[in-house]
């Protein structure tokens, strides 16, 4: 019997929800790391008991937590659970994210654009997204603010930056979005271990084809009125990118405004907003088995971060974009003013495909029928920052 595990990161802790394959009754555990901002949790595809979590705080900085038993117990990598603190040099480096400015492998620590257009030094603030390797449980990528990509190959104990991205040369043109200058999306190409896609708010999307050594912007076709040259190579506020693993060259993007599609691994983008009521939003995801079926949650505008008309509606396109249908069954259709943040939607791989999303109001909604109907699987959590799903055998 299949099982599903939902990992929800919130403003004040993490919650883990488990159900059998019917996805009707859910057991909720948490809060884990109560009181901390849990930006993202994600399980390893190679070992579902291995889960990585980003625990962060404006007071105390960044922590990385790891579970080796499916979320029952946690520890900071390098500080095994139950091990008594020992005298000696500090051995925990799992929260040490240092930009690589070394002459051998690094790039000089430069500046980026600040909100007012002046230059501002690069400063590490937090980990927004953790992306475990598709094949090795001990390898995991971290997207951080200020924007950079790190990797650990020892289960999160030590982190090294892919400095070629930050040092691509366009860094002085990158600028923070409202949430900060974050690298929030990491997509590993299952057909090509040397290819990784990332996205930064507000710089745009980038791709490496050599395992992270060199990067190039992939923003041709994006149009953003909030930058001096709306078609510039750099400066677009990409909110999220999604891929169906069966078609790694086809990417879907929710930009600040505009829903976009690329059929050539990001080399060119076309708008597919079509008949959406508004094309501002944060999340986008793809059906696990139907690569032309995609989901978005339109948000009213960049200044009104809530769903339009007081109605919480997921929009689904079965045609790869342009034609969209509102999915409303089981979702509040009056007096609802929640937001759904960029990492707060995920799909399982059961048949029928399950779709999940979390709101700023603390609900996690699930559909066990590919979006036809919805139900809250937990309500009244702290504001949800991220939702990931593991489909367990």
């Amino acid at each position: 019997m299949s099982k599903v595990r939902v990992l929800a990161g919130t403003r004040k802790g993490a919650f883990i929800l488990e159900s059998d394959g019917k996805r009707e009754k859910w057991d909720v555990s948490g809060p884990h790391f109560a009181g901390w901002e849990m930006y993202h949790l994600k399980g390893s595809p190679a070992d579902p008991n291995r889960i990585y979590a980003s625990q962060t705080s404006g007071w105390f900085g960044q922590m990385i937590q790891r579970s080796d038993d499916g979320g029952k117990t946690w520890h900071q990598p390098g500080t095994p659970p139950g091990e008594p603190p020992a005298p000696g040099p500090p051995k925990a480096a799992s929260n040490k994210f240092v930009y690589d400015a070394s002459a051998e492998t690094g790039k000089p620590l430069t500046t980026h654009q600040w909100y007012d257009g002046t230059q501002h030094p690069w400063e590490f603030k937090r980990v927004w997204h953790l992306e475990p390797s598709l094949t090795d449980p001990d390898t995991v990528y971290a997207g951080v603010e200020d924007a950079a990509l790190f990797r650990s190959t020892d289960g999160g104990q030590n982190w090294q930056e892919f400095a070629g991205l930050r040092g691509h040369g366009t860094g002085p043109k990158w600028q923070p979005g409202a949430g900060g200058m974050c690298l929030h999306t990491i997509i590993l190409d299952p057909s090509n271990p040397n290819r990784i896609f990332i996205a930064i708010s507000a710089a745009g999307a980038f791709r490496t084809d050599d395992g992270g050594k060199t990067w190039r912007p992939i923003n041709k076709g994006l149009y953003s009125q909030y930058i001096p040259d709306p078609r510039a190579e750099i400066g677009h506020c990409v909110h999220h990118v999604a891929m169906n693993p069966s078609r790694p060259n086809v990417l879907f993007m929710q930009k600040h405004w505009d829903v976009m599609r690329s059929n050539d691994a990001g080399d060119n983008w076309q708008e597919i907003s079509g008949d959406l009521p508004t094309d501002f939003g944060f999340v986008i995801d793809v059906h696990a088995h139907e690569p032309e079926t995609i989901y978005v949650v339109p948000i009213k505008s960049d200044s009104e971060h809530f769903v339009p008309d007081g109605k919480l509606r997921v929009f689904r396109s079965r045609t790869g974009g342009n034609e969209w249908e509102a999915l409303t069954k089981g979702l509040p259709q009056s007096n609802c003013y929640v937001n759904v943040l960029r990492d707060a939607m995920a799909v399982d791989s059961l048949d029928k495909c399950g779709v999940y999303f979390g709101t700023s109001g603390g609900q996690v909604y699930a559909s066990a029928d590919a979006g036809d109907s919805w139900a809250p699987i937990v309500r009244d959590l702290p504001a949800v920052l991220s939702v990931e799903v593991q489909t367990l055998a």
């Binding site: 105390f60 900085g61 922590m63 040099p89 500090p90």
Partner: protein, 98 residues
């Protein structure tokens, strides 16, 4: 023995209850106490001061003997009562909402 009171979240991280007691060799200063603290509780490294620069994190403050020591130089001697263990060094999160 130097006594240190940690904020709630750092006690949870360090898996300790109540005060922390530390042996500190040499001059008792903010720096030497934090060095000893991070050595004994490595999971706290980076939470009170930056990993590389060792600068105090901006939303943390240091109090002892009803004095605000936050902006004292890191190598300045701590008060006698802290050095003797009569009073604790209090590490406190700034009140900043949330």
């Amino acid at each position: 023995m130097i006594r240190v009171i940690l904020p709630h979240h750092l006690r949870t991280l360090a898996q300790v209850h109540g005060e922390v007691e530390l042996e500190v060799e040499g001059p008792v200063t903010q720096r030497s106490v934090l060095d000893a603290l991070e050595s004994r509780y490595p999971m706290l490294r980076g939470t009170i001061r930056d990993q590389v620069t060792l600068q105090r994190r901006p939303f943390l403050r240091f109090f002892a003997c009803e004095e605000d020591l936050t902006h004292e130089p890191p190598d300045a001697p701590l008060p006698d009562a802290v050095r003797s263990g009569a009073e604790p060094l209090i590490i406190l999160g700034a009140i900043a909402g949330g």
